[in-house]
């Protein structure tokens, strides 16, 4: 090892320190809390026991929330993938001078608070929201449509939150593909569509893969769209954690739920990366 090979690491130092103190240590605390006891009085008693975990598996209600979370996350991934690839491909192919402007539009939602963006859907989809208001006015319906407080509304809320992540991930991958590859494919006999299937699609998979993983993980940890746009039956695991810790101040059980989610996501991310993950796809390219 060269004597100054530590230098690049020095650049990483501040971030590593921040991550360590602001993330690793608090997570350790959460894990420790998950073994504590909660007295009937509401006090947390330091202990090392698996009661909180046993409680999770004793009532199927809790695992079912986890299963629903994963199902909703997969649905979100699928929706984002289909709705994200097309604009990403458009950005890759277009030579329009509007491209930078349109790219900014993708970022635009990040300038408005996530909560406000989610809440604003109530004004559009709610009983006295825009759509119902207009439809009632023109006599298309005589009773407000129930568009809020169901899974579709939750999915829509998740989609508007996560779609930009998917688009940008796929776009970055597409943008790295040399356009002469498609030209070569076409000159060798491919139609536009065949060239896409043979060349562009497989070479964009690293971005697709990264985008899917990001959307999946972010969905699993979010609670705002189900809380604001979902009904009582649409809670996801993060909603439960929120209610336990913020609502009933049951830190030990909330921590156990968090630890279970963290462990599950860890296993999923590891497996994903191992078999069709980003590093794997890059390896086959080289």
């Amino acid at each position: 090892m060269k004597s100054d090979s530590w230098k690049p690491w020095a650049l990483l130092g501040p971030s590593l320190t921040a991550v360590f103190f602001l993330l690793v240590i608090p997570v350790c605390f959460v894990v420790v809390y998950s073994f504590w006891l909660r007295a009937p009085s509401g006090n947390d008693i330091p202990a090392f026991q698996f009661g909180n975990y046993a409680k999770f598996f004793a009532d199927f209600f809790y695992p079912s929330l986890l299963i629903r979370t994963i199902r909703v996350a997969l649905e979100t991934v699928l929706l984002c993938l289909v709705m994200g690839y097309i604009p990403a491909y458009f950005f890759y192919r277009t030579e329009s001078s509007l491209k930078p402007f349109l790219m900014i539009l993708i970022m635009l939602p990040f300038w408005i608070s996530f909560i406000i963006r989610t809440l604003s859907w109530i004004n559009i989809l709610g009983d006295s929201g825009l759509i119902n208001h207009v439809f009632l006015k023109i006599g298309l319906i005589d009773r407000p449509l129930a568009m809020l407080y169901n899974e579709a509304a939750v999915l829509m809320g998740l989609l508007q939150y996560l779609l930009p992540f998917m688009i940008l991930n796929i776009y970055v991958s597409l943008d790295g593909i040399d356009k002469s590859l498609t030209e070569a494919a076409k000159s060798l006999g491919c139609t536009e569509w065949q060239a896409f299937k043979e060349v562009t699609l497989p070479l964009s998979l690293p971005g697709v893969s990264a985008g899917c993983l990001l959307v999946f993980v972010l969905t699993c940890g979010t609670y705002l769209p189900p809380m604001i746009l979902g009904g009582p039956g649409n809670d996801m695991i993060a909603n439960l954690i929120f209610k336990r810790i913020v609502g009933t101040l049951d830190w030990p059980f909330g921590s156990a739920l968090s630890t279970i989610l963290l462990g599950l996501l860890g296993v999923i991310v590891y497996t994903y990366n191992r078999y069709l993950g980003i590093s794997q796809i890059f390896k086959t390219l080289q």
Partner: protein, 369 residues
């Protein structure tokens, strides 16, 4: 013409390509003989690549017809044109094995699996890279990758092979080898080839015909000797090789030579080509290698040779040769490349420069821009 085959395999007729207000190619008429290697030579932005891409089907001409083998192909989509295209950056598919890369075009040509294997094997032997079927492009060197690209293009037995600066991504020594290889391969296969380059040495060394382009216009076409030795205008003379331009005026002529008075007052002889009359404003074009410099004190002019005086202003040693910049009494500098047969000169040496009339070429002086 009846049943006789048209020797011109590819024909461009009145081709115009505009991008908005910019004209990339202007009214181009060009014939490519069957089996020939034709080079489109010019600086970047001259329209050579655009012309190639229009033939490939990657760009659409704004006006004009492109005819291949007697058929107008303007409206034939690219994937039905059966042309082999070689790109500057090889454009191999990074996610596919070498076998799949080379077999790619065959897959879309209803060739049986056994035949594909056979043809790929043969193509790899032709480009002298047998046995690399299972590797990925990134495992090969740049030169090897370009050979695979070549194999991929020739395996489909294209009507025309199109090469867009195929050597410019390679380093100097490799480029020389690859150039000879492409040249040999093209002659062996006899496939009509259009080669786009900005490198005059590539163009001169391998072409049957060179087309010199600038600003979307064809400035001259002809075999390498003609284009090099009898440039049609200042640009062609300047672009190919190290040319000296001596402005002057025609003062007379005999059967063999034209007499031209240059700025220094010296009257030089230039071999009679084309028609000139007394008083014509001309430029005398002389290649740097054609001048001979002699020490003035020992110099005896040779009968029938042009000679004039100058002083060494600068020199640079190039290994096999020495470049001199010689200042004439008029202040004009000329470039002389000497092959080191004689002794070298130093700064400030007074020399006599000699050149045979045969090596002096006349072109019309263009109005100053």
């Amino acid at each position: 013409m009846g049943t006789e085959k048209d020797p011109q395999f590819v024909k461009f007729r009145g081709i115009v390509k505009k991008y908005g207000d910019v004209t990339a190619v202007a009214k181009m008429d060009l014939d490519i003989p069957e089996g020939a290697l034709v080079t489109l030579l010019g600086p970047s932005g001259c329209g050579k690549t655009t012309l190639l891409r229009m033939l490939a089907g990657l760009e659409e001409p704004t006006e004009g017809d492109i005819i291949v083998n007697g058929n107008r192909i303007n409206d034939t989509p690219i994937h039905k044109r059966n042309l082999g295209m070689i790109f500057q950056n090889y454009a191999l598919f990074p996610h596919k094995s070498i076998f799949d890369n080379v077999a790619f075009g065959l897959k879309y040509r209803s060739v049986s699996r056994d035949q594909i294997r056979e043809k790929v094997k043969h193509a790899l032997e032709v480009v002298r890279l047998p046995g690399v079927e299972n590797r990925k492009p990134a495992q090969l060197s740049g030169g090897q990758q370009q050979r695979i690209a070549l194999a991929r293009a020739i395996v489909i037995e294209p009507d025309v092979l199109l090469m867009d600066e195929p050597l410019s991504a390679l380093d100097e020594n490799l480029r020389e080898d690859m150039r000879r290889e492409i040249d040999n391969l093209q002659r062996m296969l006899g496939v009509t080839t259009i080669f786009v380059t900005h490198d005059q040495r590539e163009a001169l060394s391998m072409s049957d015909k060179i087309v010199v382009m600038r600003d979307g216009l064809k400035l001259q076409e002809g075999d390498p000797e003609t284009v090099y030795n009898k440039p049609a205008n200042h640009f062609v003379a300047d672009f190919l090789g190290h040319s000296n331009f001596l402005p002057g005026e025609v003062v007379g002529q005999d059967d063999e030579n034209v007499r031209v008075r240059i700025e220094t007052g010296d009257v030089l002889l230039a071999r009679h080509r084309g028609s000139w009359k007394q008083g014509d404003a001309v430029e005398l074009v002389v290649r740097a290698q054609r001048f001979e410099a002699h020490r003035q004190s020992h110099f005896q002019p040779t009968e029938g040779m042009n000679s004039f005086a100058g002083r060494i202003k600068d020199k640079s040693y190039m290994g096999g040769e020495v470049s001199y910049f010689i200042e004439l009494p008029s202040g004009r500098e000329i470039h002389v490349i000497s092959m080191m047969r004689t002794r070298t000169y130093d700064y400030g040496d007074e020399v006599s420069v000699q050149v045979a009339p045969y090596h002096c070429h006349l072109i019309g002086r263009e109005p100053e821009e």
